[in-house]
């Protein structure tokens, strides 16, 4: 490993002009080694860090090398005596070669343009995608010693990533030696608070309640002040740590803020710290402030606490991150928590029968979901780069062949072989550098575009940046290709006997059968890869269309949603909350354009929320248990979303706190428990309450991609005393969304000026958020497909057009002898189609091999979809046909007389 890095640096040093290298080469290597020793002693010797250092050094060396060569070239112009340097002075010939290369390339703009665009597309697409991949998936988390950080889950057979109970986490915090420390946070549901503003209405901010060890576990320190103490782990501690963002916008970065108070939900919190701008919360995302999480045992009735605190062995509601003690591994930690579970099972057999704890690397945990998608994109990007390389190779082969005669003549006239090869090499380098420059512009724009399309759905997207190392990598790969294929033939050509070359070219053969075959192989592989990309893109497009058409079980059109949070200080009384929601709903209902107004604790198709146990007695009289999504609703919920009422009735004004608790269940839950019709009138228990089923309604999707879920609807009027439900309003209106929101806001201000219309969105945009990542994938794959298609077309065009040039005389003779133009065309085109057909065959095989990967991405769509294969082949075939037709048509324009006379 180390010696490889040293060799890379040494190789880079060897690229310096000889005079410079002899003077400073070994010294530079020593300085690199000194610096590496020092750098690695300071941090910890990880191979990533030392590679980074090595690549930085290499980049610096290459830059210096170019600068030195550039300077010397300038000097060569400035100082006449320098021209008297001995013949073949490396500097002099390099400068001359470069100038000549530019001249030659400018004389053939088509070649240069195609080569540069090809390279630029390949390099640009790759660097952009790999920059994202690198920052999202491969780069370590932005915390000190990130490999030591783990996520702690409670696992059940049905749900491997369940939240944990307070007492379990406290046990783990104290009794697991493999944990150096553990941070606990409440992110079960989003905690928000109304922050009082000195002027104007309050601002809704996002709060994350955390334990005292949360920040120390991540090894982050505040910019100002302190974080929390153990004795502050109480819901009523009333201390707060601000995010840098909140401190900047709300406190104008006042350094004397520590000790002052802010008002959250009408309660004063003392500011004890401000976090650094670089801190990104791993659990909470965009958090505005942190408050202490309640960790005392039992249900704390601190009405003013921002998050509920109910710590026993049943209430699963907390998340935890732990830092492994030095020398401990995930496996050791897992063994120790397993032992803890066994102790707890012995003590509470009923509770812990199925409960386990699971330790997972935090990095894995965060990026896990995007992994497959990102690897598919990486694969696609690599394919595009390969196609680009093949194209460049092809282009250079053509050039080398075209220059065969010239090379032979120059060799015959006594030109040194090394010089001729160097000349070709320089040409390749000039093209590659130009391609790299354009490519980096594309890459830069590409990263920006990628982030613009998909910031929300990508984990860690705030850390994505344009990666210069990756750009370097792509440039090096393409330069290598250009050099290999550009110089190889040149070396061969320089060995060719001049007389043979002259005769050969005079006879008009296509200059080396081997090379021509090689070129056909290159184009075939290009077509194969392009087909694979097209099929991949096609499968994703089909999956996406299917997903858009999926019946979510309700109609989002025309529905506007927003949240209203009732501060506990003024709305502590459940009666008051019921009255508020009832009255506000009535006012909304009476607004112009509003057809239905309702409120729910969680919007449909928005993911899991409040998955509670559903205990019932089966028709056979056995006690059974299911789990279901609990939703608390108010107003005309069914009509707003057009969810059908199948049996029984919906809630009405007779369902009050003092009447029998009633519930409405979804069809799938009814079927699972008692059967559609017969479920009405049955009783089940959830939480501590028995509910009677009064109605059965249609299923709705649990998330925009997923399956229908068993759902229980409870009436807010009956269930308001359970907690201060943060209800999301949903209003179906014929007016535009903005007008509805404005009216809702006006009504709310009339009602209580301290309340906020929070996160106003249309229901369609709520769903679109869940589609965003799929759309993003799709866009990228489609882009790659299009690039691949273009490059494949360029390849086919190049090969055929060159073949036509070489066969001009043959074609001329055939035309002179009376061949039909269509025959001539067909013979040229036929050559292209054979190449294309072989490519398609290999491509289809490759695409089938890829199907397994695609299956995991394209939910519910068969990756072997014959329609997709047919369309992809058709598109590719058409493009190849067009690319081949142009040279074929040119072939028929050959003037027989001209061709025959030209010999």
């Amino acid at each position: 490993m180390t010696s490889l890095q040293v060799r890379v640096v040494a190789a880079t040093i060897r690229l310096f002009p000889r005079s410079f290298r002899e003077r400073f080469g070994s010294e530079m290597l020593s300085a690199y080694l000194d610096q590496r020793d020092a750098a690695l002693a300071a941090t910890r010797p990880s191979s990533a860090a030392s590679w980074r250092h090595t690549l930085l050094t290499v980049a610096g060396l290459v830059r210096a090398n170019l600068a030195i060569r550039f300077r010397e070239r300038r000097r060569e112009h400035a100082l006449p005596e320098y021209r008297n340097a001995p013949r073949g002075h490396p500097m002099r010939s390099f400068a001359r070669d470069a100038r000549q290369a530019v001249r030659i390339l400018r004389k053939r703009p088509a070649f240069a343009t195609v080569a540069i665009i090809t390279l630029a597309l390949g390099i640009g697409a790759n660097t952009a995608v790999f920059s994202v991949v690198n920052s999202v998936i491969l780069a370590p988390l932005p915390y000190d010693a990130p490999a030591q950080l783990v996520r702690v889950y409670t696992a059940y057979p049905a749900n491997a990533k369940q939240f944990s109970t307070g007492l379990d986490l406290l046990d783990m915090r104290d009794q697991v030696p493999a944990f150096a420390s553990m941070g606990i946070a409440y992110n079960y549901s989003e905690v928000g608070a109304d922050l009082a503003m000195p002027d104007g209405p309050p601002r809704r901010v996002r709060i994350l309640p955390v334990s005292a060890d949360y920040f120390p576990t991540l090894r982050v320190t505040p910019l100002l002040g302190r974080t929390f103490e153990r004795d502050e782990e109480r819901g009523d501690a009333q201390v707060v740590v601000l995010s840098h963002e909140l401190w900047s916008t709300h406190m104008a970065r006042d350094p004397s803020v520590i000790g002052r108070s802010i008002e959250l939900n009408g309660v004063r919190y003392q500011v004890v710290g401000v976090m650094r701008p670089t801190f990104a919360d791993p659990l909470g995302g965009q958090v505005s402030a942190w408050v202490p999480q309640e960790l005392r045992q039992g249900k704390q009735r601190a009405a003013l606490a921002l998050a509920p605190g109910n710590n026993n062995r049943q209430n699963h509601y907390l998340s935890a991150i732990a830092r492994l003690a030095p020398g401990s591994s995930v496996t050791q930690a897992q063994t120790q928590v397993d032992a803890l579970v066994r102790r707890l099972t012995a003590q509470y057999p009923r509770l812990y029968e199925q409960r386990r704890f699971r330790i997972a690397s935090l990095h894995e945990d965060i990026v896990g979901d995007s992994r497959t998608a990102t690897y598919v994109l990486m694969g696609a990007a690599v394919l595009v780069l390969l196609i680009a390389c093949l194209n460049v190779a092809n282009l250079f082969l053509v050039r080398a062949l075209a220059q065969l005669k010239e090379t032979a003549i120059r060799t015959a006239l006594g030109a040194a072989r090394g010089r001729l090869v160097a000349q070709r090499l320089t040409e390749s380098l000039v093209v590659a550098v130009a391609g790299g420059l354009v490519g980096s512009v594309i890459a830069y724009l590409g990263v920006k575009a990628l982030l613009a399309v998909s910031p929300a759905s990508l984990p860690r997207s705030e850390q994505v940046s344009f990666d210069v190392f990756l750009l370097g990598f792509a440039v090096i790969v393409t330069i290598f290709t250009g050099v290999l294929f550009g110089t190889g033939p040149a070396v061969r050509a320089s060995r060719v006997n001049a007389a043979d070359a002259m005769n050969d070219s005079a006879r008009g053969t296509t200059g080396g059968r081997g090379i021509r075959q090689l070129r056909s192989v290159l184009v075939t592989s290009q077509i194969a890869m392009a087909l694979m990309l097209l099929v991949g893109a096609g499968v994703l497009i089909r999956a996406f269309i299917a997903e858009q058409r999926r019946d979510v079980g309700f109609k989002p059109a025309g529905v506007v949603t927003f949240e209203v949070h009732l501060p506990p200080l003024t709305y502590g009384d459940p009666e008051r909350r019921v009255t508020f929601h009832r009255t506000y709903l009535e006012r909304l209902q009476s607004l112009p354009g509003v057809a239905h107004a309702s409120a729910t604790s969680w919007l449909p198709a928005n993911g899991d929320f409040h998955v509670w146990g559903y205990e019932y007695v089966s028709d056979r009289g056995e006690p059974k248990s299911e789990s279901a999504q609990i939703r608390v609703v108010d107003g005309s919920f069914l009509s707003t979303f057009e969810i059908p009422l199948l049996h029984g009735r919906f809630f009405d004004a007779t369902d009050r706190e003092e009447t029998t608790p009633v519930a409405i269940i979804s069809q799938s839950l009814a079927r699972k428990t008692h059967g559609d019709r017969t479920a009405v009138g049955k009783v089940f228990r959830t939480g501590d309450t028995a509910f009677t089923v009064i109605g059965v309604v249609g299923d709705v999707a649990n998330d925009a991609r997923g399956e229908d879920e068993k759902t229980v609807y409870l009436s807010h009027a009956q269930f308001a005393s359970d907690r201060n439900w943060a209800l999301t309003y949903a209003v179906k209106s014929t007016l535009p969304a903005e007008e509805t929101i404005a009216l809702a806001r006006r009504e709310l201000a009339r009602f209580d000026p301290a309340l906020v219309v929070y996160q106003p969105r249309t229901m369609e945009s709520v769903l679109a958020v869940h589609h965003a990542r799929d759309r993003f994938m799709l866009l990228l794959m489609a882009t790659f497909g299009a690039v691949a298609l273009t490059l494949a077309a360029v390849g086919v065009y190049g090969v055929l057009s060159y073949a036509v040039t070489q066969r001009r005389r043959e074609i001329g003779v055939r035309i002179a002898l009376g061949a039909q133009l269509t025959q001539v065309r067909a013979s040229v085109l036929g050559e292209g189609l054979i190449v294309a057909a072989i490519g398609v065959a290999f491509g289809a095989a490759g695409a089938l091999a890829l199907a397994r990967v695609l299956r995991s991405l394209a939910l519910g769509v068969d990756p072997h979809d014959p329609l997709v294969f047919a369309i992809a082949t058709l598109v590719l075939g058409t493009v190849v046909l067009i690319a081949g037709y142009l040279p074929a048509r040119r072939a028929t324009r050959v003037n027989p007389l001209e061709v025959l006379q030209s010999d």
């Binding site: 410079f20 003077r23 400073f24 070994s26 010294e27 530079m28 290597l29 020593s30 300085a31 690199y32 080694l33 000194d34 610096q35 020092a38 930085l56 050094t57 980049a59 610096g60 060396l61 290459v62 830059r63 210096a64 090398n65 600068a67 030195i68 300077r71």
Partner: protein
């Protein structure tokens, strides 16, 4: 190569990296990596020297007679790495000083001071 002039002002303004190298060599005799280290310590927050740039600059400054090679001091580390030591010539010191004066004049000018005031 003969230097075209010995007038320090001819070299001004110095590129930032050149200034780093020249200023740390003005008072000391240092080898390659030690220069990088000294520059990073003396001028934190400046663009960091890398090995490539360092020797590009050393090569040029030797040609321009701004620095010269000196004998390695005794008692240095005795491994087989090549470490040549450099220090500034009189001309080099004069150039570094001239650049420092230039920067000082720039920083204490009324225009700059106003800029710095508005920032706080």
């Amino acid at each position: 190569m003969t230097p075209r002039t010995t007038e320090p002002s001819r070299f001004l303004p110095l590129p930032p990296l050149d200034f780093q190298v020249l200023s740390v060599l003005a008072t000391r005799e240092l080898h390659g990596y030690a220069i990088v280290q000294a520059a990073a310590e003396a001028l934190p927050g400046q663009p960091r020297l890398d090995v490539g740039s360092l020797y590009r600059i050393i090569s040029r400054m030797l040609d321009e007679r701004l620095i010269r090679e000196v004998k390695p001091p005794r008692g240095g580390p005795s491994d087989n790495r090549v470490r040549r030591f450099y220090t500034a010539t009189d001309l080099g010191r004069a150039v570094a000083r001239a650049e420092a004066l230039r920067l000082q004049a720039l920083l204490t000018s009324a225009v700059t001071l106003r800029l710095l005031e508005t920032e706080g």
